[in-house]
């Protein structure tokens, strides 16, 4: 390893050759402001266009200031990160950016969490001397994402997320000069593009240019409607992140406070999506064993590997990109949709309510779920199984609207029957968790033996693609895991080429899985936040008495009273779905 020595703000620092000035400074606790730059360590997200020049520093003996995010350290450099010249340059850059930016902070969805805003504050910008012509663009509202390109600063992080990490390729810089902006092809709406609504572009956008479609006021309308019974359910990853919105440390589990807050907000029944996650395992696990059994018996029509289907971002991806492989994913609905289907039948019956009078709201770390619940196949006579899907951030906003002191709330418990869940369901929130949960149940069903060891460390972690072989009492099961759609694509290409050795593959669209979902509190490029959320999820699993989905007593009851058998007739009707070829055909 070659080493270089330099000084930054009069401090000596030794780094590996090739290290950027920005990283070297960080290693000795010197923060340099950045705007376009973003790197998510341990994932393949790196955006380094070097365009904004907010990160400039002064290098002694050089005439020009250097952008620290792009410039590498050289032997003997003497760097000043906050000389008067540097600060003035940063201010000029900011003023130029702001000269083509709407001054809408007071009413902007990103206010308080906007990197442009906080940078302007840090630099003490109090007026913008350059007043240029301001750009106008048509705004784009899909069921999940809103694009307001007036607020775009052309950092191009969204392009990196969509093209390099997700390999969806919906976004590109278009036009030139003053007119340039990031947009889908032909400036069509995201809705008409191959967008998966994973929301990873929203997760990295520093400004309010990309945000989610906010449904929280519709939720409040339903709550105050005396004719509606409003049921809420919360996904596993939400409890591991919601606290961050109220200044708590990343990785603080706030399950009890969250339930408390939901009850205070006025929901009639506070349930857990985890209940439906346990149900998903019953269905998906049974399907896996069924397909495996037939395949091993030599049935050539039964294809392996089976792919998980609980992530709607991933479902959109394969419908658009791999329409010739629609028979490989499990047909099991996502937990959100299973929850809705059961809530509007089984539970509505218990309440003696008509389905139209029951409103199902889900709180998700995810923006793709907003799209998912709007899909036609998840409606009965136009009435959606899940009426409204809001993000972790929107729930936080509702809690702030009601002026609840979140940190001071007492812990509370979910209602029954759809609030009971096992540890297996909790880990759905992280990459590797769904398949681990499936293994816990499939192993016991297949071998009829009790699983001794519940923690499958070999399935956990943050690496983009992982694999492990699990011994099903003499039958080796090869398992693959991918998170981030670019990684998923690699595994799919292998399957297509007939090179895949896997029996089952878990795929989640977002880096880290749902803990890194597009609806979570913004991580601002700090991957440690994702890791802390992941740890919190495994911790909650460990603390549960029941950790295998098939042991959930309310799930057992549901099958006995209502569904019959996993993958049985009723299950097929309510809990399974089919996929569509969404590849755009070019007409000739």
């Amino acid at each position: 390893m070659e080493i270089v020595q330099l000084t930054i703000d009069n401090k000596k620092v030794v780094v590996e050759k090739g290290t950027t000035i920005l990283e070297a400074a960080k290693s000795i606790g010197v923060d340099i402001p950045t705007l376009c730059y973003m790197k998510l360590h341990d994932t393949n997200f790196e955006n380094k266009p070097g365009g904004c020049r907010v990160c400039v520093v002064e290098v002694e003996g050089r005439r020009n200031l250097a952008p620290s995010c792009k410039s590498t350290c050289e032997e003997g450099m003497k760097i000043n990160t906050h000389s008067v010249r540097v600060v003035n340059a940063r201010r000029t850059v900011m003023e130029l950016i702001l000269s083509d930016h709407p001054f809408e902070c007071l009413v902007c969805a990103k206010s308080g969490d906007c990197e442009l805003q906080s940078l302007a504050q840090n630099l003490g910008i109090r007026e913008v001397k350059y007043q240029g012509e301001k750009n106008k663009y048509k705004s784009d509202e899909s069921p999940a994402i809103i694009r307001e390109m007036e607020k775009c600063i052309m950092c191009r992080r969204c392009e990196t997320a969509c093209n390099d990490v997700q390999t969806v390729g919906v976004l590109s810089a278009i036009n030139r000069g003053f007119e340039s902006v990031v947009a889908p092809a032909f400036e069509m709406d995201l809705d008409h593009s191959t967008c998966t609504f994973c929301g990873q572009c929203v997760a990295v956008c520093p400004t309010g240019a990309l945000t989610e479609r906010d449904s929280s006021s519709k939720v409040m309308d339903a709550i105050v409607d005396p004719n509606k019974t409003v049921i809420v359910n919360t996904a596993p990853a939400v409890r591991a992140a919601l606290g961050e919105e109220f200044g708590m440390d990343a990785g603080t589990l706030v399950t009890g406070k969250m339930v408390s807050a939901l009850r205070k907000l006025g929901f009639d029944h506070v349930f857990d999506t985890d209940f439906a996650a346990d149900l998903t395992i019953m269905e998906e696990g049974t399907e896996l064993l069924g397909r495996l059994g037939k395949h091993l018996a030599g049935d050539k029509d039964v294809k392996l590997p089976i792919l998980t289907s609980c992530c709607p971002g991933w479902v959109n991806f394969f419908e658009h990109q791999f329409p010739d492989m629609l028979d490989i994913p499990s047909t099991a609905k996502s937990p959100q949709q299973m929850f809705g289907a059961i809530a509007k039948t089984y539970f509505a019956d218990q309440l003696e309510k008509k389905r139209e009078d029951v409103v199902v709201v889900s709180v998700m770390p995810c923006l793709a779920k907003k799209y998912e619940c709007s899909r036609d196949e998840f409606k009965v006579d136009g009435d959606p199984d899940v009426n409204l899907s809001i993000s972790t951030r929107e729930l936080a906003q509702m809690i702030r609207n009601a002026n609840l002191n979140f940190e001071a709330l007492e812990d509370d418990d979910f209602d029954q029957p759809m609030g009971e869940s096992t540890g297996a369901a909790v880990i759905f929130g992280t990459t590797g968790g769904v398949i681990e949960a499936a293994v816990r149940t499939a192993y016991e069903v297949h071998t009829k033996k009790t699983l001794e060891r519940l923690d499958f460390e070999e399935l956990r972690g943050m690496e983009g693609i992982r694999s492990a072989t699990i011994d099903f009492d003499g039958l080796p099961i090869n398992i693959g895991i991918a998170h981030g759609l670019g990684n998923a694509r690699k595994l799919l290409e292998d399957i297509k080429a007939g090179k895949s050795e896997f029996h089952a593959i878990e795929i989640m669209a977002c880096p880290g899985g749902c803990i890194g979902g597009g609806g979570q509190p913004y991580h601002h490029g700090d991957v440690e936040i994702l890791k802390k959320r992941q740890r919190a999820i495994y911790e909650e699993d460990k603390g549960k008495i029941l950790r295998k989905s098939h042991e959930n007593p309310f799930i057992q009851k549901l099958y006995k009273e209502f569904l019959g058998e996993p993958c049985g007739e009723k299950s097929h009707e309510l809990l399974h779905t089919h996929y569509y070829d969404k590849k755009k055909k070019i007409e000739i």
Binding site: G169, L171, A183, A185
Partner: protein
């Protein structure tokens, strides 16, 4: 998106063009040039075929098409009008001539009139500097044009 269907033979030709450049993403600009020559302009469908063949995203192709002003997504008019903006023509008042065309036809450079009759584009020196300012309509060349001549030229094609 425009509702245009491409003739199959032309699409095959387009695919050949891509192949000629080894479907190499680095050759995208050259491929688009050739495609524009083939179709006269670059409608959405053409960009989609190119993206497919070259294995890049349509968004990227569109990004390139909108970045360079010589690419156009609008079909040329029945009588494409080109105004030379080379140095010689420019100093002799080509811009005023251009303005006059724009005013009469009520379109911008790169656009086509609603009836599809005329389109306006600008060229670099066409090698007839002695005749500056130079205007071409289709194949026909007009030299030493003044703004007052514009009306008469258009009348020839009405």
């Amino acid at each position: 998106m425009a509702d245009i269907k491409l003739p199959a033979a032309k699409v095959e030709e387009l695919k050949e063009v891509c192949k000629k450049f080894n479907n190499e993403p680095g050759e995208l600009i050259n491929v688009l040039h050739a495609a524009q020559e083939l179709f006269g302009y670059l409608p959405a469908e053409v960009q989609e075929v190119v993206a497919n063949e070259m294995n890049v995203s349509v968004a990227h192709v569109y990004g390139v098409v909108t970045f360079y002003s010589f690419f156009s997504m609008i079909p040329k008019g029945e009588h494409p009008i080109s105004i030379c903006m080379g140095t010689a023509c420019y100093v002799r008042g080509a811009e005023k001539v251009l303005d006059e065309f724009k005013r009469h036809l009520d379109v911008k450079v790169g656009e086509t009139t609603e009836d599809g009759k005329f389109s306006i584009s600008c060229l670099r020196c066409v090698g007839a500097c002695g005749l500056a300012p130079v205007v071409t309509v289709g194949e026909k060349v007009y030299g030493r044009i003044a703004p007052e001549d514009v009306k008469g030229i258009l009348a020839e094609y009405m």
